[in-house]
């Protein structure tokens, strides 16, 4: 990993990569309704269906869009500013998207694909950054890392890897469970491609 990356300021990926307040609010509403519906509240289930139908496609689109930008930002970080590497990583991410989402994906599948791709890119970047540090220690033993730092670093990588594997499983599960479920649940294949800006 090139040096200029190692010196990047904390928080550089935030801002455009955060979900908007409105998206967060809608997610919170869906979460509350899901909880009530799961507890047996029939009105909540009805309301949840309506919300999923009316607004979740837009929320999914926005989240997918953020996910796509995230993948690109991580690719930029991983490339260390080298345009060729950056382009190669963008191409790799596009290829992954196409292969994972498959033909005619639902909006939910698009989002879950973005999630898998972003988490893959994140684990790749983290592994590269950590490997660079270890190489530095091998070259210069005075650069020895403190045990607490190595532990914290491993925790972040482990957390990303765990989420990546869970994301792959989740996509497979959704495909299995929602196969044949009518469009009423918002899993319509119509308008699935591309995200809603914002």
């Amino acid at each position: 990993m090139p040096e200029d990356n190692a010196k990047a300021k904390p928080g550089r990926t935030q801002g455009v990569l955060e979900l908007s307040e409105e998206t967060r609010n809608r997610l919170a509403e869906l979460q509350v309704l899901s909880k009530k519906a799961e507890a047996g509240d029939k009105r909540a289930r009805k309301e949840l269906r309506a919300r999923v139908r009316s607004s979740s496609e837009e929320v999914i689109g926005r989240a997918s869009d953020v996910g796509r930008k995230m993948g690109q930002t991580l690719a930029h970080t991983a490339s260390g500013g080298d345009p060729l590497t950056e382009e190669a990583l963008y191409a790799k991410l596009d290829l992954m998207r196409a292969q994972i989402a498959g033909e005619d994906p639902t909006p939910l599948e698009v989002l879950l694909t973005e999630r898998v791709v972003s988490l893959w890119m994140l684990t790749t970047v983290l592994e590269a950054l950590i490997a660079t540090q270890y190489r530095r220690v091998v070259d210069d033993p005075s650069e020895r890392l403190s045990p607490s730092y190595v532990l914290q670093q491993s925790r972040i990588l482990e957390s990303a890897t765990r989420r990546y594997l869970a994301a792959v499983r989740e996509l497979a599960r959704v495909r299995k469970l929602l196969a044949g479920v009518p469009a009423a649940t918002g899993s319509s294949r119509q308008g699935a491609r591309g995200g809603v800006p914002g």
Binding site: P10, R45, S56, R115, S159
Partner: protein, 108 residues
């Protein structure tokens, strides 16, 4: 080993005596080392100070690096959680219930 605390002690007969404290590796007790006095002690004190400053700078670098890794991961983790909420909402709306992490068709 870098001393965790250092001090110059004043002696009754005059002059300063350089001491440093460190934690014992065997039983964890604090051990006070009497290093000495004069130019040699001054040199050891300077060396200890440099070591402490280097350690401090390293800790600061590691802290910044961890913050950077966390900042890289945070938005991806947030997206991941959002996807989870949306997936759950879809499955519940489609008539599933989650039991012990597994989704099953809800009865009725």
């Amino acid at each position: 080993m870098v001393a965790s605390a250092v001090a110059w002690e004043r002696r009754e007969r005059g002059g300063r005596y350089y001491t440093r404290s460190r934690r014992s590796r065997e039983d964890g007790r604090v051990i006070r080392e009497y290093v000495g006095t004069g130019p040699l002690a001054e040199m050891v004190a300077r060396s200890d100070r440099t070591k402490r400053e280097l350690e401090e700078a390293k800790r600061e670098r590691e802290k910044e690096e961890l913050e950077r890794l966390e900042a890289l991961a945070a938005p991806v983790f947030e997206l991941s959680e959002a996807a989870e909420i949306l997936t759950h909402a879809h499955l519940i709306a489609a008539g599933y219930r989650r039991r012990k992490g597994e989704y099953r068709r809800a009865r009725g």
